[in-house]
Amino acid sequence: MIRALLLAAFAVLLVSLGAGCGEGPTKIVFWHAYRGDEEAALIKLTKDYEAEHKVTVELLSVPFDAYAAKLEAAVPHAHGPDAFIDAHERLGSHLQNKLVAPIGDALPEKDVASFEPVSMKAITIANVRYAVPLSEKCIALYLNEDLVPKTPRTIEELAALPVPKGSYPIVYEAGTPFYHAPFLSAFGAGMLTADGQFGMVGPGAEDSLRLVAGWQKNGLLPEEPSGALVKELFSTGKANAAISGPWLAGDLGSMKFRVEPLPLVGKTGQRMRPLLTVEGAFLTPGGSKREDVRAFVRYLGGKQASIVRATVGKQVVANKQAWEEPALQKDNVLLAFHAAAKDAEPMPTSTAMRATWVPAQEAIRKVLRGDAEPKAALEEARARFLDALKPPPPPPSPTPLFLVCGLVLAGLAFLMVKRVREPGFRAELRRGRGAYAYVLHAAAIVLLLVVLPLVVGALTSFFAGTRDQPQYVGLSNYTSILTARGGDLLGHGSFYLTLLVTVLWTICNIALHVGIGVLLGVLLSRQWLKLRAIYRVLLIIPWAVPNYVTSLAWKGMFHRQFGAINAILKALGAEPVSFFSHWSTAFAANVATNVWLGFPFMMVVTLGALTSIPKEVLEAAEVDGATRWQRFRHVTLPLLLPNMLPAVVLGTVWTFNMFNVVFLVSGGEPDGTTDILVSEAYRWAFTRNSQYGYAAAYAVIIMGLLFVMTRMLGRLTPKDVEKGEH
């Protein structure tokens, strides 16, 4: 049996080795994250290339969300692609992780002139070029041809055009830094300075915020605009103009519109320069050594391929020569974005850029809501940026860690030796051999899938820095969290404030889950209620729908201007509420969503627990003189609740860690104050300079808290209450 297995394994190994080296260097593995037209163009190009040259190109479309993670996981172990398409702003991080190599003769010196200078700038770091620029993506101004026949010279003039009630002169995602960046540039500021510092400070940045906050105040901008809202308003003629990217054009159908580069800001006389993303073909260190790979990449950026990408893939190609093609000269939208890109500002490649988004967004939204003056908001944003980028503390001596680990191991060894020495141990072991065989695979799987990740996660929390250059920092992640990073103990984003919010969040939710669940469960168990089975199914539905779907739906319902809830309030004559502008309403919106998601579980548990209450006990109470309410209050409830305790413990853990709802409904708004511990941990890992160690420390603390909490809840079980007696 075992020999057969070994043989099989050996065979598999041979085959895979054969596949690995047999075909040799004629196969090119190429990754991208394209969909739709862009993917179609790439496939066509690849086919053409394969037909002409004697190579196979294996295209792999990787989902965008997982793209960077997959690259980081695969390339260093030579499992990944030979070359891949990615946005240039990831270059800094890719270099740090050694995922890319200089482009070499895939972009020879003589070809440099045929690419847009701005895209060349984007893929160059310290005079070394790292990619063949393929396409350029930036935002531009969409104008409704019927409403705005003549383009105003400045954005202020555009904003001042008269519009009917319910319409807007201009719509864009005002609360998003990416869309605010063009305003910054017109005022002489930026997201990041050349030396990697937070650029959104100073009078220019403040003025840019004042300008849009003034519009918001005067109702010239819709509130809480999302991409979907921008599309809806513009495509239905409720907005004169929209600021958006090429993706909007595809959704406008037969509407008459034109696209132009962003206008001037009248106040400064400067043009609004959007952030530019250049998509380029990068070579991995392995791929860069292969002539065939370089040739393929060179081909993708060439004139003919660019024409295909522009016509089939609707890309704003970076190759200047392609634009001479007559077919391209007819596509006005493409031309407009091409023009816009010439003036755009390449997104900084520095990894510090990633740490700017969240503080900038929080500051912009605060100012738009009128909660803060621009200067104060931006100062705060800079402080948060600096905090996120704070270098890890000097590595402490690892001796204490080794000491602790050593002691633990020694202790375990001692216990093991003691156990082995015990009389009868061997006999027992022999007797239990069969049993061990049964649990062995389960134990191994648990070890592999549960214990190991847990241990790795816990160990991560002792490190700071990126994944490739982890730096041992001892317990400093923990001390930093527990001392609120040296700030106010209940200050913005401090662990204790978040903990407080989390605890409040959990209590509110569990109370409502149990309250509503028990109420409905008891109602549904009543014999006199007709159509009980139907109600039961209907009430379980919220539970059956994936929680992110529900969360997104509820977020839409809470929208200030277009949400169902405000529509109802309006119909009732009440003032509309900006749910995500105030802590209390944002928190309530989160709770409402999660209650909707969570009560069916408690209801089902109640229905189950109710069957364990003997009918005669209730009848005895009835004979004893109890009214319906008294029977519920004095008999059903006290017998029900102990049975619900396990469900409450479970629900508490789920709610405590209910990331989806918080992240998707309020997203921490306003100003990160509705974040709970897990969503805060997420922000440290994914929006604040990839501080995985710090996030891991959060996770360990959360686990500890949950452990303590579960134990405490377990204590509550009244040991002497039993379900029934017979």
């Binding site: 005669e616 009848e619 009835e622 004893d624 109890a626």
Partner: protein, 375 residues
């Protein structure tokens, strides 16, 4: 002074299309102890629950202490009920269980304490007051259930087979307790059981229910002595009454019952005139059969199949020897210990039926032919 405590009239109850009670009348005077018996599923519990208000009647009326309570919920009927499973509140101590009904009625605490003490003394629960039901034995739980009824001092006590979960010895003991309590409290009680001994010994009044109707009612001993129907005759008494298919035979001046190997005289004044050849079922209880001889006339000969010796008496099981071909009848006979010891399996024993205790039932209607029972 008599006062009607319970008057349930023409009670009809159906679950869906399934009639369970078909016009039952039950009434109790103050201080009376009424017992409902009947085979399993005949509707005893249903009737009790209707009286308690836990079940609605399909038609009929219920009066408790002169008040029409047919439409009232249990809490307004002033009754207390002891359930078969005791139905104690598992989360409350014995004391709280006892006080529950009083607390709900906002009885002053001092009064509650007094009544709880009283009841727990009566039932010997003083030491158990702080325990939870699950810390009690079955008998203790049963007493708590009774205590819970007693403290309420209701107009009417209802018991639904309260002793069926206890072992035999305890059952005998608690049976006596219940009757004593009833008398001490001058209570009015309606008690459901299917235990023969409880039915006979506890009550002042007995109702035998069958098929949703009252077959017979009266003082337990009367019912036992003069069952009005074949069903009652067979239902009451343990071991069961022996039944033999007979025909009436006139022989000279005397009237005889003959069949299945039995031939025994019928005391004519008791049964009046019985037509010759009339078919009937003869019933005789095991202890009314004796060994023939010494002035006792032979009624049949028993082929002994099995002897149950209980020490102070013996039950002999066997069949009659019949030569007429109608088949033989199974009989059980009680003998004293002395005789019982002598009887051997396979032996033929001559038997005599005590003519004074012979019962005759019409073959078709199954109603007793006994004049006095038919009145």
């Amino acid at each position: 002074m008599t006062e009607t405590r319970l008057q349930a009239q023409r009670i009809v109850k159906a679950f869906g299309n399934n009639p369970i009670l078909r016009g039952v009348d039950v009434s109790l005077q103050k201080g009376e102890f009424g017992v409902l018996v009947g085979p399993s599923g005949c509707g005893k519990s249903t009737l009790l629950r209707i009286v308690a208000g836990l079940e609605e009647v399909s038609s009929g009326t219920i009066e408790i202490a002169g008040r029409d309570v047919t439409e009232l919920p249990p809490k307004d009927r002033d009754i207390a009920m002891v359930f078969q499973s005791y139905a104690l509140y598992p989360h409350l101590t014995v004391r709280e269980n006892l006080a529950f009904g009083l607390t709900l009625r906002k009885t002053p605490p001092a009064e509650i304490a007094k009544r709880v003490t009283e009841a727990s003394e009566m039932l010997g629960l003083e030491k158990l007051l702080e325990r939870l039901p699950k810390q009690l034995s079955g008998g203790q739980r049963q007493r708590v259930a009774m205590g819970r009824a007693i403290v309420r001092r209701p107009k009417l006590f209802l018991f639904d087979e309260p002793l069926s979960n206890l072992d035999a010895a305890l059952r005998a003991e608690v049976r006596v307790t219940i009757r004593n309590l009833h008398d001490r409290l001058d209570a009015t009680t309606l008690y459901v059981t299917h235990d023969q001994v409880e039915a006979m010994t506890l009550g002042d009044k007995l109702w035998v229910l069958n098929g949703g109707k009252v077959e017979q009612t009266g003082a337990p001993l009367d019912v036992y002595a003069r069952p009005r129907t074949l069903f009652v005759a067979a239902f009451l008494g343990s071991p069961k009454m022996n039944l033999v298919n007979v025909a009436v035979v006139h022989q000279g001046n005397s009237v005889l019952a003959e069949g299945q190997g039995v031939r025994t005289p019928i005391p004519s004044p008791r049964f009046g005139t019985l037509a010759k050849g009339m078919e009937a079922t003869l019933g005789i209880r095991p202890h009314d059969v004796h060994i023939a001889g010494e002035g006792r006339e032979l009624s049949c000969t028993l082929l002994v199949e099995f002897v149950e010796a209980l020490g102070f008496e013996a039950y002999v099981h066997g069949k009659t020897l019949s030569d007429t071909g109608e088949g033989d009848a199974k009989l059980v006979v009680r003998l004293d210990a002395e005789h019982g010891r002598r009887v051997k399996v396979g032996e033929k024993v001559p038997l005599s039926f005590d003519p004074a205790h012979i019962h005759l039932f019409d073959k078709k209607t199954e109603i007793a032919l006994d004049d006095k029972a038919t009145e």
